[in-house]
């Protein structure tokens, strides 16, 4: 992922910042409401139904980057676009851990890889058609990837992993500039139903890349670049009846969609509407009064709504789902005294994580984290290298570590936080108070989140000059595997002069090699295990102090049916399954 563009990193952080505005669920278990129990949608499908008909209504407090499957980075659009775009593979619409499983969608089966994990072949299902009746071919998939990854002049929002991994990806100029009939050479389409990807390095997570909305087919003849969003050609069960930029959209059934070609979609509602730019508190109130089916953002209710839904009978309609992100503090190994592992360990032992969690909003906001990988990522392994009673920190062990690092009386350092993220500042304030007990005096410095990576915390020279030893950080993966999560934040190759996300400046050859080796391993079980092992290596290095696994506090209205949380999409509800009794 060396060539992954800075903007991509920023964009995923941006997507995370949406999560930061949210809060999670928790509190008392409360029956009643006739809509399942609290957290029921985490591991089961609530209000399961097979009844066709009705309208599923969504609202969103903002606008999407784009509803065009080839021009989006937002997790909720990835989830939502599956209603009108069929990708090669997708995440199984199912409850609990099953939701992390990759299943074939437009393709007949998962990708067939060469032994070196550098060539991936997919065979498309027969009989899949666009809404105008033309059959979907492998060329349409190839074209969709070309336009979404190689044409930033028209479609700049999406990630560019295909560009980074495909052979010759750095040279190809995209379909709007390069008008040659063959397009990028490393995607081959030997016949209308076969597509072959040739990568420049082994990459065993390719089936996850194939879940990106960018692999949803786009007919070249109908593509209008950035304007395609106005007339998206559906390959899924719904097509656009209307779309208004910045206002919303209405989707109705696509008559050309054939359930026989699609084993994963039930497509229950007759109609799906989505409205943008609704006041966030209004969205919450509409959920409470059962006027809408779901908040499309899926990041949970606003802080002001939180007491309202946790106190009364509404509590049984809430789900606190893992948002797939970890809040942590990066200890920069090039800033004194954190160049000394024992000084880093002093922070690990001394920190009262429970106090940090309580300051951030307690159990609805998340769980105390002991690993870098959150529980909703493939490869998560539960362990706690610095276990203390009740996560409250251990002063004696911290003092011993301080002594070992040659600073028995503690030291002074600086902790950064993003000024427009109250929860992050709360975490920093609690960190400050708890480290004071072991003699580490922390000064909190705030930076605007828009420039946090490009100008401040992500710029090693700035960090060194200003002696920013501790850096607040939150991270979620673009795809839910250990590699998708870890590579950008612990790999030495991810250290950049600006805009980097490896805030620890961790460049441990052993960790780098373990990442490279694991991603080349086509044995799923071994690869998954490797992520947990790398996580342990990072914690042994002690430069990452995990604080909390973030959660969303979702509310499911009574009329919502087939409600389940999908772990693959940042812990929001699964929009493929969701329907409405209204």
């Amino acid at each position: 992922m060396k060539t992954r563009r800075v903007t991509a990193g920023v964009a995923s952080v941006l997507a995370l910042s949406l999560g930061a505005a949210a809060c999670g669920g928790g509190g008392d278990d409360n029956d009643g409401g006739g809509n399942g129990k609290k957290d029921a949608a985490l591991n089961s499908i609530v209000n399961a139904s097979d009844k066709k008909g009705g309208t599923a209504t969504y609202e969103h407090s903002d606008v999407p980057d784009s509803l065009d499957p080839g021009n989006t980075y937002y997790g909720w659009v990835q989830n939502f676009s599956r209603l009108y775009g069929r990708t090669l593979t997708t995440f199984k619409p199912a409850a609990g851990k099953e939701g992390l499983e990759v299943v074939p969608d437009l393709a007949e089966g998962l990708g067939k890889s060469s032994p070196d994990a550098k060539t991936w072949t997919y065979k498309l299902r027969a009989g899949v058609k666009f809404q105008d009746g033309t059959p979907v071919t492998s060329k349409d998939v190839k074209y969709a990837i070309e336009r979404s990854n190689f044409a930033p002049e028209a479609l700049s929002n999406g990630p560019t992993y295909f560009k980074a991994y495909l052979e010759g990806g750095d040279k190809y100029k995209g379909p709007y500039k390069d008008k040659s009939a063959e397009g990028i050479k490393s995607i081959e389409t030997p016949d209308d139903r076969t597509i072959v990807f040739k990568l420049k390095q082994p990459f065993a997570d390719f089936d996850y890349l194939a879940t990106f909305s960018q692999t949803a087919p786009v007919p070249k003849a109908k593509d209008t670049g950035a304007k395609y969003v106005q007339a998206i050609q559906s390959s899924g069960p719904y097509q656009f009846q209307s779309y208004e930029e910045g206002r919303g959209a209405t989707l109705v059934r696509n008559p050309q969609w054939d359930a026989k070609t699609d084993p994963i979609r039930k497509a229950l509602p007759d109609k799906i509407t989505i409205k943008f730019k609704v006041n966030p508190v209004t969205v919450d109130n509409n959920l409470i009064s059962d006027k809408i089916t779901a908040d499309a953002a899926g990041t949970g209710v606003q802080p002001q709504t939180q007491p309202k839904v946790l106190r009364g009978k509404l509590a049984s309609q809430t789900d606190s789902s893992y948002a797939g992100a970890t809040q942590y503090i990066a200890l920069n190994v090039n800033v004194k005294p954190f160049d000394n592992a024992d000084c880093r360990k002093a922070v690990q032992w001394g920190l009262d994580k429970q106090s940090v969690l309580d300051a951030m909003g307690g159990s609805p906001k998340g769980d105390v984290a002991t690993t870098l990988l959150p529980p909703s990522v493939n490869g998560y392994t539960k362990f706690d290298t610095y276990a203390t009673e009740g996560h409250k920190g251990d002063v004696a062990k911290a003092k011993a570590a301080l002594k070992a690092c040659g600073k028995p009386n503690g030291f002074n350092t600086i902790l950064t936080a993003r000024s427009d993220r109250p929860a992050e500042i709360a975490a920093a304030t609690a960190t400050q108070a708890s480290l004071k007990k072991i003699g580490i005096n922390v000064e909190i410095k705030q930076f605007p989140s828009g420039k946090y990576f490009s100008n401040f915390a992500g710029v090693p020279s700035y960090v060194h000059d200003n002696k920013l030893g501790m850096l607040s950080m939150a991270w979620g993966a673009d795809w839910p595997t250990g590699y998708g999560f870890l590579d950008q934040i612990v790999n030495g190759a991810a250290i950049k002069p600006s805009g980097g996300n490896n805030l620890m400046e961790l460049d441990d050859p052993k960790i780098n090699k373990a990442l490279t080796d694991a991603i080349a391993n086509t044995d799923d079980a071994a690869r998954t295990k490797a992520w947990g092992d790398i996580d342990k290596m990072v914690l042994d290095n002690a430069s990452v102090v995990p604080l909390i696994y973030r959660k969303n506090l979702l509310l499911r209205p009574e009329s919502a049916t087939n409600v389940t949380v999908t772990q693959a999409y940042l812990g929001m509800y699964d929009y493929l399954l969701m329907s409405s009794s209204k």
Partner: protein, 332 residues
């Protein structure tokens, strides 16, 4: 120095006999402007109350550390056992009020609100007072010079004022506050933040007072007492500082007491935007800005610092109004 409208013994002597009958000689002695103003001020009960509150607040700010020490208050001690993190509110009603915590505790950390209000008072008042002093000093000097000399000096200074007034102040304040780093003027940490805030707030609001002083100076410089002084050979600086300035004290004093509350609110606004005082130091504005996110869960958290700011602003405003009435009878 003499003021233009000072009553003289001769004038007093010219009053009708009936008024003076039965009054001892000492009582009809001329009273200075200050005495008259003080008499008027004393009669204004509301202004007096404002003044007393201002004095008490100042005492609280100056002696905030000893007060905390005497009453064993710690503004930074966490009591997270007193809060319910899931509901983002302290346990129990009224923001966790109890005998141990008369004003409750804050909802995230369980820190004592009374201690934080007391500890925050010196920051808020120091920033507001310092900024006011700075803007009054710059504004008065430049205003007097511009108003007295006129001509090109006035043009330059007036355009400078226009330029400053045209600045998008808040944006400027944010960028300065955010970009000043440790080591600036050899300061770091809290003293640096306070100095930056004083500078940002004070340095950019001087044209307001500058314009008032300039206008006042322009009306005064044509008056007879100035002409008398100049005709007797007094030169620029003497006229400026011995003749003009004493006559400007009243409007300056009034204006200063009226912008202190504005500056307190400005400090609150900057804290609200995250460029004010860094945690864990309490400041009223910072507390208010924290409370905004949590007010539905814990209204008390917003109420307490809000009330503190309200009382302070009101007291300063009442004092300022009273001062203006006392010093400038025409404004009545």
């Amino acid at each position: 120095m003499t003021a233009p409208i000072e009553t003289t013994g001769a004038e007093a002597g010219a009053q009708p006999e009936a008024v003076l009958s039965g009054v001892k000689k000492s009582q009809i002695e001329g009273r200075s402007l200050t005495q008259i103003a003080w008499m008027r001020f004393k009669r204004d009960k509301v202004a007096m109350a404002g003044g007393v509150v201002v004095i008490l607040l100042t005492l609280m700010a100056v002696f905030s550390k000893p007060i905390q020490w005497i009453f064993n208050l710690d503004p930074n001690k966490f009591n997270q056992d007193l809060i319910d993190p899931a509901l983002l509110a302290p346990k129990g009603g009224w923001g966790g009020m109890s005998w141990d915590h008369p004003l409750g505790v804050d909802p995230q950390y369980g820190r004592d609100m009374l201690a934080r209000i007391i500890d925050g008072s010196w920051v808020s008042l120091l920033v507001a007072g310092g900024a006011t002093l700075l803007s009054v000093c710059i504004g008065t000097v430049l205003g007097v010079v511009a108003g007295y000399y006129g001509g090109w000096i006035d043009s330059v200074i007036s355009r400078l004022m226009d330029t400053f007034l045209a600045f998008p102040l808040l944006l400027f304040a944010i960028s300065i506050s955010a970009s000043v780093q440790d080591g600036f003027f050899g300061l770091e940490g809290l003293p640096l933040r306070i100095c930056v805030l004083i500078f940002v707030i004070g340095f950019f609001s001087w044209p307001y007072i500058g314009r008032i002083v300039r206008a006042q100076t322009m009306t005064l410089r044509k008056r007879e007492f100035i002409e008398a002084a100049t005709s007797l050979g007094a030169r620029g600086p003497y006229v400026l500082f011995r003749e003009l300035l004493p006559n400007l004290v009243a409007p300056i004093l009034v204006y200063a007491t009226l912008i202190i509350p504005t500056n307190i609110l400005f400090e609150a606004a900057l804290s609200f935007l995250g460029v004010g005082i860094a945690p864990p130091q309490a400041s009223w504005g910072g507390m208010l800005s924290n409370a905004v996110d949590l007010y539905t869960a814990d209204p008390q958290y917003m109420f307490v610092p809000g009330l503190a700011i309200f009382i302070t602003v009101l007291a300063f405003n009442l004092l300022g109004d009273g001062l203006r009435d006392a010093l400038d009878p025409r404004s009545k």
